[in-house]
């Protein structure tokens, strides 16, 4: 017995008394077709009536849910953007207001400072003028006193030398000396 005998096993089968090539043996055709019609038909009805609509419904529902969620997300995103824009606008307004207030305050303070400075300057200059006038007066007084002091001194000095001079003479002499 070699394996070659297995290469033609159909012949062996026929020799063993079995029927023709099984797929072409007609006895089972009615049974095959009968059960095919029942089972394929039953499968078609079960799938098309019950299983597939449900499965398709689940898939569709999921698609709808995802689409809804995406729509919601887009809407919320839009809202957030809007809010951010408003926020920025508010912020800009507030900033502008703050700057305006600050500017106003600064201007006011500067004006006050200028006014105060002017006032002080004016005060100072009047007081300076007064002081100068007083000094002038004092100096004039002092200068007028110098002649009489010199006359007195001259009288005293001459008295020490034994010469008596009248007030008028002394004054006249001092005047002549200072003028000369």
């Amino acid at each position: 017995m070699t394996f070659l005998s297995l290469a033609a096993p159909a012949a062996n089968g026929e020799a063993a008394g079995s029927a023709a090539f099984p797929p072409f043996d007609p006895w089972h055709f009615p049974s095959q077709l009968f059960w095919l019609v029942i089972l394929f038909g039953g499968l078609y009805i079960a799938l098309s009536r019950f299983v597939l609509p449900k499965l398709g419904g689940v898939i569709e529902k999921r698609g709808d849910t995802i689409a809804d969620a995406l729509d919601d997300a887009a809407r919320l995103d839009e809202q957030a953007k809007e809010a951010k824009k408003q926020q920025e606008q508010h912020l800009a307004e507030a900033r502008a207001k703050a700057r305006e207030t600050a500017d106003k305050a600064r201007a006011k303070v500067e004006a006050e400072i200028a006014e105060e400075t002017q006032k002080v300057d004016a005060d100072l200059s009047t007081r300076l003028d007064e002081a100068e006038a007083r000094i002038q007066k004092v100096r004039a007084e002092a200068l007028s006193n110098v002649d009489s002091i010199a006359a007195d001194t001259t009288q005293v000095m001459l008295a020490r030398f034994g010469v008596s001079v009248s007030d008028a003479e002394a004054k006249k002499a001092v005047e002549q000396a200072t003028k000369g």
């Binding site: 017995m1 070699t2 394996f3 005998s5 297995l6 290469a7 096993p9 159909a10 062996n12 089968g13 063993a16 079995s18 090539f21 099984p22 797929p23 072409f24 043996d25 006895w27 089972h28 055709f29 009615p30 049974s31 095959q32 077709l33 009968f34 059960w35 095919l36 089972l39 394929f40 039953g42 499968l43 078609y44 079960a46 799938l47 098309s48 019950f50 299983v51 597939l52 449900k54 499965l55 398709g56 419904g57 689940v58 898939i59 529902k61 999921r62 849910t65």
Partner: protein, 256 residues
Amino acid sequence: MNLSFRQIADPMHQFEVKKLIEIGPIGGLDLSFTNASFYMLLGCVLIVAFFGMAASRGKLVPSRMQSVAEIGYGFVADMVRGAAGEEGLKFFPFVFTLFFFVFFANMIGMIPYAFTTTSHLIITGALALLVIGIVIAYGFYKNGLKFLKLFAPAGAPWPIYILLIPIEVISFIARPVTLALRLFANMLAGHIMLKLFAGFAVTLATLGGAYIVIAPLAFAMGVALNALEFLVAGLQAYVFAILTCVYLNDALHPAH
């Protein structure tokens, strides 16, 4: 080698239909529930159980099983939409049933000792005739006699039609034949090959001597073929379904 071993190694043995419950003859027809009917029933039950369970849970955030079921749903829906357009979606339940019926039959056939429903021409032929029957019926229902434009594409000069129309008619008639034969032949040939190489491996190993060296090669070939057959099982189900969509597209838009 005794007879029972020969039967086991017989690659045709797996295609034999055996009566499980004798029914009939009713009206002269033997309607017995056979092993073929059983595996067909098993496929249908698995499909309904799998998709039914996924659909009945119907959670918004799907579980893994529900995800797989929904991928299957989307896969077939895209296939129908892609090949037959939005109007084709009215045939979505039919294509879905067809695809998963064939897919589960092919995949169940990959389980050792299981019967492959789609390895019988009577089954694939019936499905192909159902498809082409729907195409013809719907084509005439929707387009009336304009459906016949399918055989005479517009825009050709008239002498061409003498040649063109017979070709189109023949190609249309060939559709159910090729649709049925493609699936049937793929499943049949694939399972014969699997059985042959598995049988070779066992036979060579038991023969002893120098044959033992070749046995692992036959076994490795069997393993490789197994992987290939899984691919073929999925692919042929897909091909059957996509061609169904293409033919339905002709019924929906015959002028193209």
